[in-house]
Amino acid sequence: MVFSSAVFLFAFLPAVLLLYFLPLCFWNRRLEDHRKNLVLCAASLIFYAWGEPVYIILMLLSIGFNFNIGLDIERCADDSKAKKRILMAAVVFDLMLLGFFKYSNFLIGNVNSLLSADIPLLKVSLPVGISFYTFQILSYVVDVYRGQVKAQHNIISFAMYISMFPQLIAGPIVQYSDIEKQLFGRRHTPEKFLDGVFVFIRGLGKKVIFANAIGAAHTEILSGGTEGLSAATAWLAAICYTMQIYFDFGGYSDMAIGLGRMFGFEFMQNFNLPYTATSIKDFWKRWHISLSGWFRDYVYIPLGGSRRGTGRTILNLAIVWSLTGLWHGAAWNFVAWGAFYGILLILEKYPLAGIVPKIPVWVRHITTMIIVIIGWVFFSCESIGDAFDLLGSMFLLKGNAALDSQWMYYFRGCGFSLLLMSLSAFGAFAGVPKPRNKYIGILCSVCVYGAIMTLCVISLVSDTYNPFLYFRF
């Protein structure tokens, strides 16, 4: 089930909200919290089972395993060796599961290519959301091991944390330490709920109105392959994808945050106007913040971060960025994409450290944007060969024309959308003043978000092109 589907918007969500807010245990606050968690947990499992009726079993077993691991680690609090052994067993088991489902066929394919072997591929499909919920699980067991959080003794609450439907499929990756206190006693207010509704609709609008439209344009431009594309058309395709992925994933994150708020949770911000970044480091502080934070807290810093000298820092950055690339997909183009950013960050951190700050901000901004657009080429293409093919067209390396009538045709179709999306991505709408009167402000918001919702519903009814790009990760 996807958030931008009629069944979710008009059946699942209203039903869950109704059950969630029915004050069936109003006389006992603690009991009411338990009941709310149970409703949310059950709804999340139904939400997941809707699309993955088989792999729900895998998730439940994973929940059972890690719940007990948490308790076992807590029980061995005074025996550091035993505690470490349990942690290692859990981390290896969780990563092996992720590795098996996500990377086994990638590995077999590469072995077959290298050794001209004919090992049959396994019949495995990637369980939706496994990359996200495995990382949440790891954050839990590691935090319990570090003593940063107490082990969760209520399996319903733990299952709810892992499977919570607003962020189960495509994040944000919620670290247990961030949400522990919200599992019980979270506040529900009409203002918070309404704000959640607005954030959700904003995300839906980003996805349905912007991302789907520009995604269709990107598909159309590249439908005939890259052969004969002028440089301008190739750049237009890359820019369309740059906008599509931001509004698609950013829209999903907004929807997740909005839904979370409706249910009383405060999830971390996952995007902070990433296309306004003035350096690659700045970009990664603003893009998919929850993933960058996870790699920082659970890989980069434990490896020593930047505290062990230049050589070790470079190695740590290389490891983190190779893993970031691989996390996104079992294909070499994702590894290349991760390596691309790893190299750029190392360059920014060392040889260019003294130069970058002296460059005018607008130059840094444009350079960062160009680099990001090039990065998305690796990300959007199915193979490294395809990526270099498109890059060849973008940089006139294939003997192609710089500009042609085809570009004008496509630009007429998507130029206005691109302009609107660029304004939004660069934060132009963020500074729109709000009315001073609270009630007029709410009324204005209701009108604006009501209009966005109406547009989304019209689009959803008439459009079948509706994929979420980050689902496959």
Binding site: V54, G64, N68, I69, I86, K123, S223, G224
Partner: protein, 158 residues
């Protein structure tokens, strides 16, 4: 051994059993999409006379899906609007691609049946007898007079 550890071991063991059952049977066919489609067309089970082998771009325009998302596609269709025969064979990269792909094809064939409804009964009937099969890492879709035989041949070709 304490209770949480026993429970964790049980969950881990059950997970391994689950993984074994999920991956146990019906392995992905090692044949290429060209080999499978070739067997259907060369044996004349699916007659391609009057049909054109389409490019990835034409596939994308027809189904709004990127050919690059799959391990390989072979797509035949007719130039004439009134000739509804089609053959599509796709080798998937991932089993999870099967369900959405089948949905897209079903939706398209339903739309096409609606289009022919009322004025081209023969074409409508031919469209209604389509076969759509997902098996062993492949999806096959065919519209032709002997669609059932094509389905049999496809299963044998995997």
């Amino acid at each position: 051994m304490n209770k949480p550890r026993i429970m964790a071991i049980i969950c881990a063991a059950l997970t391994l059993v689950f993984v074994f059952f999920v991956t146990r049977d019906d392995p992905v066919s090692s044949r290429t999409v060209e080999e499978v489609a070739g067997q259907l067309t060369q044996s004349k089970t699916f007659d391609t006379t009057g049909l054109t082998l389409r490019s990835g771009g034409e596939f994308k325009k027809t189904f709004l899906l990127s050919a690059g998302d799959y391990d390989g596609i072979v797509y035949y269709s007719a130039d004439s609007i009134m000739d509804v025969r089609e053959l599509l064979v796709i080798r998937l990269k991932d089993e999870a691609q099967a369900e959405p792909l089948v949905e897209v094809i079903k939706k398209r064939i339903e739309d096409k049946i609606t289009l022919f409804n009322g004025y081209a009964p023969e074409e409508e009937a031919l469209l209604g007898s389509y076969v759509l099969e997902s098996s062993r890492g492949f999806v096959m879709f065919a519209v032709c007079a002997n669609a059932d035989k094509v389905l049999e041949e496809f299963k044998g070709a995997l």
